[in-house]
Amino acid sequence: MIAFLRRRPGLLPLLLLAPAIAWLVAFYVYPAIQMLQASLWSGTLETGFAFSWANAATYPEALGRYSDQFLRSILYAAVSTLVCLALAFPLAYTIAYRAGRWRTILLFIVIAPFFTSFLLRVLAWKTVLGDDGFLLGPLKAIGVLPEEFRILATPVAVIFGISYNFFPFMVLPIYVSLEKIDRRLVEAAKDLYAGPARAFQRITLPLALPGVFAGSLLVFIPAMGDFVNAELLGSVQTRLIGNVIQSRFLVNNDYPTAAALSFMLMAGILAAVFIYARVLGTDELESGIG
């Protein structure tokens, strides 16, 4: 075999790639096709499912029935992305330019949450934000907040949870693109009589855009699919499309509706990414990913 490869060196990369690509085709691409097919099924798990193009009516039906949850997902994901952006930019800026020898330890703290279980982190916020928890309890005791004030089981709690959990995905790409900026450009701007604010606005911010773009996608995409934060921190009024997909699949075994919703969710995300890329320019998209 080695002798054969020596005669045909072009085959070696293909051989190296083959197992991973074959795996992804079998368990990433094929399941997607299978799910498209399942969205056109009718029947139940007990009686078996039958495929028919006529079942395409599942799509408009599902969209009409769960439009509230779809819109709520888009709203929560968008707000969480903005919250993350606002919170992450100053932190990434500090780590990139002001941290000095603390840089490594700060970067480590940014990713530290990933070393604790995701579900336990969400439950920890349930403890902190609880109606009489560490945060609200003392404020209620001294009368700053009324007794019935609550954060848990409100949209604020869900958006807070989503923002917390995907926050590092926003900090890291912004940090990377800030760190790559040649600081002499800022000095040049100052030599040309730009004040610090103007230098920031005209040099630092535009050059950090690829990181902002990548970070926004890394927060927005998982946020659109969230159901854990909505389930553990929210209430029936904060159910997201992820909760619907999860319960249709796993509780009701309503595979056709769940598959149709999954497809529309994916299509919605792709559309949002496309629009965002158009607004910011595709150059940012490529350098943000690459």
Partner: protein, 264 residues
């Protein structure tokens, strides 16, 4: 003046941000020492070491941890092997379709977990027979390998791109054949990258809930155990296990970076 204000505001803000990041980790650890009344463990009652003393007194907890570790080990081994081979191909060789291949490998990372999990569930239901259905540990394993492959490829590729090809040329000049060059020169140089990817894959697998939720059936991993007990109240022992995972992961990263610094 403005500058001074800006600098100190940033400093204060950074402090707050760090507290925000670390607070849940601290809470998880703190509540493993709590002595709750009843089943819920959301309010602080009093300090006790009891739960650390009988970590596995909760039925099913130990089993779930063992299942999680087993799945994480096997999925890491397979995904790291497949992913490293693919990363080598992508970095070392120019071939037609390379950009398309890179994009394809990136796609699973850009897909929400819920959709990855849901589509695998549909596949397994459609197959409808063992070993894929009913869902079991094997189907969780397939799911974890699937999402880990892309993470491994991206991580190893990033580490490989700074690789100095002249070292391999030097090896060939000194009479080593391709196989010897690979094992004596290339492999030791890319090993830290492979180790980093393996560590990432392991920690993603052991903590995965969303995809596992769709592919587990009746199998209970540690995150599934947490999810199941969240409705009735998470016992402090679960916090203790979470804390142990955290300490082990941080130590692994610290040892890894120490070893790498010593090599450099």
């Amino acid at each position: 003046m403005l500058r001074w204000l800006g600098r100190n505001a940033l400093r204060a803000y950074t402090g707050l941000a760090l507290i925000y990041l670390l607070l849940p980790i601290f809470i998880v650890a703190l509540f493993s020492f709590n002595d709750p009344v009843g089943k819920t463990n959301y309010t602080w009652v009093g300090f006790t070491l009891d739960h650390w003393g009988n970590l596995f007194a909760i039925p099913g907890l130990l089993d779930s941890v063992i299942v999680s570790i087993r799945i994480a080990l096997i999925s890491t081994l397979i995904a790291t092997t497949l992913g490293t081979l693919a990363a080598l191909a992508l970095v070392r060789y120019q071939f037609r379709g390379r950009p398309a291949t890179s994009l394809f490998i990136f796609l699973p990372l850009a897909t929400p977990e819920i959709i990855l999990g849901a589509s695998l569930l549909t596949l397994f239901v459609a197959i409808g027979q063992p070993p894929f259905f009913p869902l079991n540990e094997f189907t969780i394993l397939i799911a974890h390998i699937t999402f880990n492959i892309s993470y491994v490829i991206v991580t190893v590729r990033a580490r490989l791109s700074g690789f100095d090809r002249r070292l391999e040329e030097a090896s060939a000049d000194l009479g080593a054949d391709g196989w010897q060059t690979f094992w004596r020169v290339t492999f030791p140089l890319i090993l830290p990258g492979i180790a980093a990817a393996g560590l990432l894959a392991f920690s993603l697998s052991i903590d995965d809930f969303v995809i596992t939720n769709f592919t587990a059936g009746r199998t209970t991993t540690f995150p599934m155990f947490v999810w199941g007990s969240a409705r009735i109240g998470v016992p402090p022992q679960v916090n203790a296990i979470g804390t142990i995972f955290f300490v082990v992961a941080v130590s692994a990263v610290a040892v890894g970076s120490f070893l790498q610094r010593r090599r450099a």
